[in-house]
């Protein structure tokens, strides 16, 4: 009885153990663990695809005593995305933290040595979070995620990075505590922690409303929803490139996943529309503010980080729409669209940060105005930025395009037309900030001899970009099939 859910959590965890134990072998062992972890994660996705919802109650006690792991379509989708992104980030990291040619240890070596164990811990936290079916277990995974993410973010060692990630750590702690308070309230009222059991007994009322406000509030802090986003841009912009990619693509997404999970499983049915509308309004503000700041950003990574703030806003606009839609295909489509948006953004933002890392490494800086030569010297990286940009803007054939189309169409059908200008304005601003970067790629310098100059670092990024900009949009249909398992339909 090999439990694939457990393996998905243990593979990266044991990998972290191994690289902690043998730091000198870190890149090799880490990569091996990454491959295994990705395989385990994808096997869960495949398992849900073929067998439907997977669930295991650990320890043989059964809920409510035990902790349940559960993978439904939503978990599987995000798990699949995070497995692919994390694998790419791992491959990239091998190339990014270059071992020195002459055997002399370099700063990169030291960073890599610290990177691998923390990164694998982060990964197992992510998988554990996506698979958790227990409110308190989620708190532990959130903390594991927050701690390892903050430590990873500070790996560059620059003052800005350390400061920003310290703030991130503190904010994350605050968010988790508020979430935990909500859990405490739930336990006080209902005496169980399993989400599935709670879904059956939770009733509308002040207790549930307060608990929801607390839990979602804490998670919104972690998901960097406007106006609680202040910590994100500096933390993500100053981390090493593979870490930025993971933070922006996966870690904030994990918090969003939780919001969606709790919303769909627990709180959606008992929440007034006004609460959802509040989330939507904050999302709208995030879109406009984040996009505007991205447009004004002077550095490429800062731009990418602000763009994350904006993109998280799109995800939260989904809530009022989902809440307002009557159960049925329309609501299902909206749920799937929001998930699709999250997946696409995950791939795109990871690709963008990885490419930005290459640019920064080559140019020695990432000031957008001075990037001309560097951008052109790295055609693959520039191309990746372009592909990621396509997905961030929402141009076809990216997944974002499909998702936005559905969201716009449904908001028009339901008469909630006010989301349309918000989304479109955000799109136009996104065009502005993406092409601000891309226009640097054109100057009279001849392009280098090769399209790909560092395959280990550039190809994963390129593939992520291509996934976001092409594959997810054209092949979104399977997501609906996947979500049929326990989420929609």
């Amino acid at each position: 009885m090999i439990d694939s859910l457990v393996l998905a959590i243990l593979a990266p965890l044991l990998g972290a153990v191994a690289v902690t134990l043998l730091p000198s072998q870190a890149p090799r062992l880490g990569l091996a663990a990454a491959v295994l972890a990705a395989a385990a994660g994808l096997s869960v996705t495949a398992g849900v695809w073929t067998n439907g919802v997977l669930r295991s109650e650990l320890g043989g006690w059964g809920v409510p005593l035990a902790i349940a792991l559960q993978a439904d379509g939503l978990s599987a989708a995000l798990l699949g995305m995070s497995s692919l992104v994390a694998l790419s980030v791992s491959l990239y990291a091998v190339g990014y933290f270059k071992p020195s040619a002459d055997g002399e240890p370099t700063a990169d070596d030291a960073t890599a040595r610290h990177f691998w164990p923390l990164w694998l811990l982060l990964w197992s936290a992510l998988n554990a979070l996506f698979l958790a079916g227990d409110l308190f277990n989620l708190y532990v995974t959130l903390e594991l995620l927050g701690l390892s993410a903050a430590a990873l973010g500070a790996l560059t060692g620059s003052r800005e990075a350390v400061e920003a990630n310290l703030r991130y750590l503190l904010v994350g702690l605050l968010g988790s505590l508020i979430y935990l308070l909500g859990v405490a309230l739930i336990y006080t009222a209902y005496g169980v922690l399993d989400i599935g059991l709670l879904a059956e007994i939770v009733t509308p009322g002040p207790v549930a409303a307060t608990a929801m406000a607390l839990m979602l509030g804490g998670l919104m802090l972690k998901a960097a929803l406007f106006p609680l986003h202040f910590w994100l841009p500096p933390a993500h912009a100053n981390a090493p490139a593979p870490v930025s990619a993971a933070l922006s693509a996966l870690v904030v997404k994990a918090a969003f996943y939780l919001v969606l999970r709790l919303w769909l499983d627990l709180f959606g049915p008992i929440t007034p529309l006004s609460a959802a509308n509040l989330l939507g309004v904050l999302g709208a503000a995030a879109i406009l503010w984040g996009s505007w700041r991205a447009l004004r950003a002077e550095r490429l990574k800062l731009l990418a980080a602000y763009s994350t703030v904006a993109q998280m806003g799109y995800l939260f606009i989904g809530f009022p729409l989902i809440a307002a839609a009557a159960p049925g295909p329309a609501r299902d489509n909206l749920i799937a669209a929001v998930v699709l948006l999250a997946l696409t953004h995950g791939f795109a933002k990871a690709g963008l940060f990885l490419a930005a890392g290459m640019v920064k490494k080559t140019a020695g800086h990432d000031r957008i105005d001075d990037l001309g030569g560097a951008a052109q010297a790295l055609p693959a990286a520039t191309f990746t930025i372009g592909l990621a940009g396509v997905a961030l803007i929402g141009l076809p054939p990216s997944g974002t395009f499909v998702a936005k189309w559905i969201m716009l169409e449904q908001s028009l059908i339901m008469g909630h037309w006010w989301w349309v200008p918000v989304i479109m304005l955000g799109t136009l601003l996104a065009i502005g900030y993406v092409f601000r970067v891309l226009s640097r790629a054109f100057n009279r310098e001849p392009t280098p001899y090769r399209f790909v100059s560092d395959a280990r670092a550039e190809v994963p990024a390129l593939l992520l970009g291509a996934l976001a900009a092409g594959v997810l949009g054209l092949a979104a249909q399977p997501l609906w099939t996947l979500l049929l398992h326990g989420v929609i339909g």
């Binding site: 532990v140 903050a150 702690l173 935990l180 308070l181 405490a184």
Partner: protein
């Protein structure tokens, strides 16, 4: 028993709010950490209080276990945050 519970729950809520207030208005790292820890103590307070079931009924062990886990997590986070602070101080000393 309910009264005791409510007293300690109320105390926990007050701790939480005090901690939150301090966290929001005091910028120094150490004060923020103390604030966070006081907040955590507030949440733990609540959990332990609701686990209490009178002087002659065994308490609910589940919240106790949760709080124990929470304490470990809080200590880890505090230690990490202090290491961050130390790193910043060292940079300043250079």
């Amino acid at each position: 028993m309910i009264a005791t519970q409510l007293l300690y729950v109320g105390c926990g809520i007050l701790l939480l709010i005090l901690g939150l207030w301090s966290f929001l208005v005091h910028p120094p790292l150490l004060r923020k950490l103390i604030a966070i820890n006081v907040m955590g103590a507030g949440v733990f307070h609540i959990l332990v209080a609701i686990a209490y079931r009178g002087i002659d009924t065994p308490p609910d062990p589940v919240p106790h276990a949760l709080v124990l886990t929470g304490i470990v997590v809080a200590v880890s986070a505090t230690a990490l945050a202090l290491a961050f602070g130390q790193r910043l101080d060292r940079d300043d000393d250079r």
